[in-house]
């Protein structure tokens, strides 16, 4: 119980009950909905100004925040077994193949990419639902990748997860009190008689009625169930929350409620988020820093303004141009967009060199021969592409040749020494490689 009891007062305005009756809110459907909805509302007298104030603007980046989690060259290969009696391993699904990034303390980083790119696997590695094949995950001086399950147990309270589907992630035969209180009993944090008060406190934090601790998940709506899942993740005061598509199963109007709740929680309890989602607009709102994944690798990582404003990787550009934009209504017709042909290749046998080259319009010989390093090209911007450049301004010759010691076709130049030292550094360096001058520069 390290929480400040005053903290929740801000989230939860008082005397809702009386107002709700006046505004006719009691007519909202069945009794359960009625009782819970008014609590979930928390909107006082429902005028626009006060409701708008509860909505958050996009999260801001704190560039000086220390890293709470440092992921370095993380790998996860799943074996593919042959059929038959003797099930030999005949290959590996390279779900995550050497990714590096940092999650700042109390901040959030977004992982985006198409389905099958390894973003959910990354989340499950960090929560150690899988044991990684290689690499390290430094969390407060411990390497989560190396710990045994037994050594991992005390650390699990610091790294918790919010799941995508609120219908399957809650046990239908347990009451909300049991679900939210289970982590307390597993970790024996508080005596048995203190579990219920803590559960009720948590339910209040996430905007549910604390008196509903003895109800079952089926008595709640989708948005309310997701709140239960969030309460469970918060039970042990985690320092890092892995949110795997936390809103994609919810209705549009409810999505905004949950996103605002997560932002409240983040500012209140200083929790760091690894936010995994395929909805680029939600990620842009929630995360000041974003990593774009393609086929098990990070292809571009940087702050929000860079990734959404001037992305340098052809895949990021294609991904962003594919998002339908509400503002298009004023213009009419479809937006100009970059067409990606075909499907994502199989991660069992990924393309050589750059994994995106099979669908990339700029791909040349070098892309098949040499894998592009994740090169820092700005203060908070890294990209893995031989032809990195802003949309419409991709260079004609590879920008990475000097660093890698190869010629324009990707063949090694005799005598040349690869100078690149930044291949697997998780954070950002003070100096970076400038694409226009092809020199290392700094601030």
């Amino acid at each position: 119980m390290t929480q400040d009891p005053n903290a929740r007062a801000e989230i939860e305005p008082t005397d809702i009950g009386a107002n709700a009756t006046e505004t006719g809110e009691r007519q909202l459907g069945s009794d359960v909905q009625d009782a819970t909805a008014q609590h979930e509302l928390s909107m006082g007298d429902l005028d626009f100004a006060s409701v708008a104030e509860l909505g958050h603007t996009a999260a801001e980046l704190d560039p000086d925040a220390p890293a709470v989690l440092t992921v370095d060259n993380l790998k996860m290969y799943f074996p593919v077994k042959s059929s038959g009696v003797v099930r030999r391993t005949i290959g590996h699904v390279q779900a995550v193949d050497g990714i590096s990034f940092e999650v700042p303390k109390g901040g959030s980083i977004g992982l985006v990419g198409e389905s099958g790119c390894g973003k959910s696997t990354t989340g499950r590695l960090i929560t150690r639902l899988y044991k990684p094949t290689g690499g390290s995950m430094m969390f407060e001086g411990n390497d989560l990748a190396k710990l045994s399950n037994k050594e991992m147990k005390p650390l699990r309270r610091d790294v918790q997860m919010i799941f995508q589907d609120p219908y399957t992630s809650l046990n239908p035969r347990h009451t909300v009190g049991t679900i939210v209180g289970a982590p307390l009993e597993v970790h024996k944090v508080v005596p048995k008689d203190k579990v219920l008060p803590r559960v009720q406190e948590l339910l209040e934090v996430v905007g549910l009625n604390p008196e509903h601790y003895n109800r079952y998940p089926n008595e709640f709506s989708g948005g309310q169930r997701q709140r239960i899942g969030i309460a469970r993740a918060l039970t042990l005061n985690p320092k890092l929350l892995v949110a795997d598509e936390p809103v994609s199963a919810l209705d549009v109007s409810i999505q905004a409620q949950v996103i605002n709740l997560l932002q409240d929680i983040q500012s209140e309890f200083d929790v760091a988020f690894l936010f995994i989602a395929h909805d680029l607009a939600i990620v842009r709102h929630f995360c000041p820093e974003i990593a774009v994944m393609y086929l098990g690798k990070i292809v571009e990582i940087g702050d929000r303004e860079t990734i959404y404003g001037k992305p340098h990787h052809p895949y990021t550009q294609a991904l962003l141009s594919a998002v339908p934009d509400v503002k298009q209504a004023a213009v009419g017709g479809r937006r100009e967009r970059i067409r990606l042909e075909g499907d994502v290749p199989s991660p069992i046998n990924p393309p050589s060199g750059c994994r995106f080259r099979t669908r990339c319009q700029f791909a040349q010989e070098i892309c098949a021969k040499v894998e592009p390093p994740l090169l820092q090209i700005g203060k908070r911007h890294k990209v893995a592409c031989h032809f990195a450049g802003e949309l419409g301004a991709h260079p004609a010759t590879p920008v990475t040749t000097d660093l890698l010691g190869v010629d324009d076709q990707g063949s090694p130049v005799p005598g040349a020494v690869p100078t690149n030292t930044q291949l697997t550094v998780p954070g950002y360096e003070k100096t970076w490689y400038d694409l226009t001058t092809k020199q290392t520069t700094g601030v």
Binding site: G24, L28, G55, A58, A256, A330
Partner: protein, 368 residues
């Protein structure tokens, strides 16, 4: 217009469609009996779609989007669902039509594609067999070989690589995007004049979604069909639809052209939808403002305007008008084609002065 021989019923439809829109829905009401009493899922709904045009229907789950479209397709159980009002597809009244005549229309003059392609395709039959069946049902004189050729042609048309080989695959051998394409191929195999797409891209990645939306638009241009697209993604609406129908609790609450609805909306529910989704290009100062509460139960809908318990602008209406009187669907200020169901006296000023500064500050500067 099309490359294949026009069948009888679509020929009849073609004759009738020359005057007026292809699909006309008037005062539609759908009621389901339940143990707790009758639930009216759709009420007083009227709209029309012309050939070559796209209507977008938006709203939360339970707002009656899918129920109304299923009524058009005649997919409700006529023994239990009570449907009143009028639905005319190419001049044919569909409400009360016999099941056998309905079958002649369904899949032929009109077709539907669903959200979950894996659930909509039969797992035991090959893709080709399912396409051929859809063709043979409405072309009794066609041979099996014709049907197979047509199936391959359609798979090719929707962009499945190597269609002559993939036609013998089972649905599970297709990727998510390919399944959606196969279902679109099945829907379009009889050149329907009306295509209803119920959340056609919700389960797909953005890149695949863009491919499917492109495909739908190309096919619409080619076949000149009327399209209804049901979605909760306002971005999809902005890029695809000509007109937009916003539904709440079974009623139309706002109707207009896409530009009217998305740039000058006049109903607080539409404002709520716009403010609760972030945008990839909006200012980072824009707030994400949810619609408070949950959608109402249709078993006991709120009196007056069904949105009033969640409406944050109800305090601007004099007296208790919102909670006692259902607002009529009346023309809005931006044009005669723009209809809204709201008591707010001056919605344009409220939207511009209060809502827009919070949800899209950058748009405000442009208009000044």
């Amino acid at each position: 217009m099309t490359s294949v021989p026009v069948t009888q019923s679509s020929a009849a439809a073609a004759a009738a469609e020359t005057d007026g829109p292809f699909l006309q829905v008037e005062d539609l009401k759908v009621t389901f009996p339940t143990e707790d009493g009758p639930v009216t899922a759709v009420q007083g709904l009227s709209y029309s779609v012309e050939k070559g045009k796209t209507l977008g229907i938006v709203g939360e789950s339970g707002s009656g989007k899918s129920v109304s479209s299923m009524a058009v397709m005649g997919l409700h159980d006529t023994k239990s669902a009570q449907i009143s009002g009028s639905i005319r597809v190419g001049g044919t009244e569909v409400v009360g039509l016999s099941e056998s005549r309905m079958r002649g229309l369904r899949g032929n003059a009109m077709a539907m594609i669903f959200q979950d392609a894996l659930a909509a395709l039969h797992p035991f039959y090959k893709i080709g067999a399912q396409l051929e069946e859809a063709y043979l049902v409405h072309h009794s004189s066609a041979s099996k070989r014709d049907a197979r050729r047509k199936a391959i042609e359609m798979l090719d048309r929707v962009g499945i690589p190597q269609p002559d080989r993939r036609v013998d695959d089972f649905p599970h051998q297709f990727s998510g995007g390919m399944r959606q394409r196969a279902m679109i191929a099945m829907g379009l195999i009889n050149d329907p004049s009306l295509l209803i797409a119920d959340e056609p891209t919700t389960a797909l990645d953005v890149t695949v979604q863009a491919q499917i939306l492109d495909l739908l638009q190309d096919l619409q241009r080619e076949f000149n069909s009327a399209v209804i697209i049901i979605t909760h993604d306002l971005g999809v609406i902005a890029e695809m639809a000509d007109d937009v129908l916003v539904m709440y609790a079974g009623r139309c609450v706002e109707f207009g052209t896409t530009k009217q609805i998305l740039t000058t909306p006049e109903m607080p529910y539409t404002w709520g939808l716009l403010s609760s989704v972030p945008d990839v290009s909006s200012s980072t100062d824009a707030r994400l403002i949810p619609i408070p509460g949950n959608p109402p139960s249709l078993l006991r809908p709120p009196p007056g305007c069904s949105f009033h318990p969640r409406c944050v602008h109800a305090d601007k209406v004099a007296g208790d008008l919102c909670s006692t009187q259902l607002p009529e669907l009346l023309p809005a200020s931006s044009g005669t084609a723009h209809l809204k169901r709201c008591h707010l006296p001056d919605p344009v000023a409220v939207y511009h002065d209060e809502v827009l500064p919070e949800i899209a500050p950058e748009l405000l500067e442009e208009t000044r």
